[in-house]
Amino acid sequence: MTNETLLSARGLSLSFGAIPALVDVDADLWPGEVLAVVGESGSGKSTLLNVLSGRLRQQDGVVWYRDPEGRLHDVHAMPQPALRALHRSDWGFVHQNPRENLRMSVSAGGNVGERLMAQGSRHYGNIREAAIDWLRQVEIDADRVDDLPRTFSGGMLQRLQIARTLVTHPRLVFMDEPTGGLDVSVQARLLDLIRSLVRRLDIAVVLVTHDLSVARLLAHRIMVMQRGRVVESGLTDQVLDDPHHAYTQLLVSSVLQA
């Protein structure tokens, strides 16, 4: 792992009226690393994700992103076209609800190919081939390529969303509760898939979850948030096996031991 961070945030603060969503949050992400952000509902996890990805503007602080050429960019000072281009190519965003990201009236192949076409791919055969290849990688039958997403199950939709996001080989993917709303066996398969894809493609991930077992399975490092503050952070196993902060101890102890 290099010493240069891929994404680094300093002193992020944002409040919605009187409610502090982020209070002086620092975060660093190195290439190929999975960083989990955990905490209860309303602790500012999703807000942090939206600020880090430039979808929401913070009131204070800065987010730096290092592009493949090693240049640093202030994410919130980037011109809109550059940021949108970044979101289409080098970055990806996986939503909790795949319907937010997918086009439900467009076939699975079209959904996967959209980012390629947005980048300027103009060869139907190649786009289709890439789509089929990616469906296979996320364990969807290649003969479903022409089916509409509305005929897919919840787990398949989530995998389709992942294929659609990864088709442009992003270096950084933001995931907001990627396993939320799925039943346990489907969750396990999806986690397995995400883990192998992330390892194989060397993707850095910022993962927001309230599920500590998801964090345990996927993340290298973990940040625990409460009321907009990062109360504890460190290596996943270290934080979860030996929690120091009272809130982290509460979180860890409240997980049912199977």
């Binding site: 079209g110 076409m117 139907y124 022409d146």
Partner: protein
């Protein structure tokens, strides 16, 4: 023809024409970009060419010769009434011959006769936004135009090829103007799209209900969207015109009886008549005896 008294030249007042001309100038300066304008109520319903008629009124001069076509024909209700409207309110000379006209207002066709530098063609546009069916938010489509993000349009083409094996858009086929703006060419058949490319005449587009004007200046590149391995192709009915025998013009299918009889004729009536006058005869053209019997 003399103009009716009590009306300003070409119906619209001078300030309105000025406003429309300003929108047209801006549209010409940014080929394919939709310019908003203060569309007026016109004495015909929305969808009958209120946009086109306002653009025509704004650029019409006393020495102009006006031709109006509807689906290629000079003799349909819409074409006849708009032609008569300007004949009365502006007193300009009207014609049905493409070559004689200096200003052509059209609904859904480009004449078969190639247009010249001294001509202007005005299109009636129902929906100026090519992305409207794919992205319902007008704020978002404006952003997409601003940033030239047109991947979505190709998703539509991808879906068509996937479902039908070819792009199934037969009219209003989206084009990229001057390698920059995605534009709806109004509901002309895809057959006419190649005529827009590098056309010597000025092309103006007016959408009255949607309150937009856009333009393609003379000699501007207009490219129909396609894929490298599925290039844009025009289609036409595989017949010769029944009246003039043309095999290269766009054809209308006319049902002639209730026993499956049908006739394919040129949709451009002026083109067809010109050819017949020059001695071309189609397989189903009435003979001299038949004409005499009528």
């Amino acid at each position: 023809m003399n103009a009716l008294s009590g009306y300003n030249f070409a119906y619209l007042d001078e300030q309105t024409k000025r406003m429309i001309r300003r929108a047209i100038l801006k549209a010409v300066a940014i080929p394919g970009h939709q310019v908003p304008f203060g569309s007026r109520e016109m004495p015909l319903p929305y969808g009958w060419g209120t946009g086109g008629i306002q653009v025509t009124a704004a650029v019409l001069g006393p020495s102009d010769v006006l031709k109006v076509i509807d689906q290629g024909a000079d003799d349909t209700t819409n074409a006849v009434s708009i032609r008569r409207f300007f004949g009365r309110t502006a007193g300009v000379r009207t014609t049905t011959a493409t070559a004689e006209a200096t200003l052509i207002q059209t609904r859904h066709r480009i004449p078969e006769t190639a247009l010249r530098e001294d001509q202007i063609i005005v299109y009636q546009v129902p929906q100026p936004e090519p992305l409207s069916k794919l992205e319902p938010s007008r704020a978002e489509t404006r952003r997409m135009h601003g940033l030239a993000e047109y991947g979505l349009m190709h998703v539509k083409l991808y879906e068509d090829i996937t479902r039908f094996g070819h792009v199934s858009i037969s009219y209003d086929y989206p084009v990229l103007v001057n390698s920059r703006y995605l534009m709806a060419p109004s509901p002309i058949p895809a057959f006419d799209n190649p005529k827009m490319h590098m056309m010597p005449a000025l092309q103006l587009f007016g959408a009255g209900r949607e309150k937009r004007i856009y333009a393609v200046p003379p000699y501007t590149a207009v490219k129909s969207l396609d894929f490298d391995d599925h290039p844009f192709r025009t289609t036409r009915a595989p017949h010769a015109c029944g009246l003039c025998g043309a095999t290269d013009s766009y054809l209308d299918e006319v049902v002639t009886d209730d026993r499956g009889g049908r006739l394919f004729v040129c949709s451009d009536t002026d083109h067809c008549e010109t050819r017949r006058a020059a001695g071309h005869v189609g397989a189903e053209a009435p003979t001299a005896d038949e004409l005499a019997a009528e």
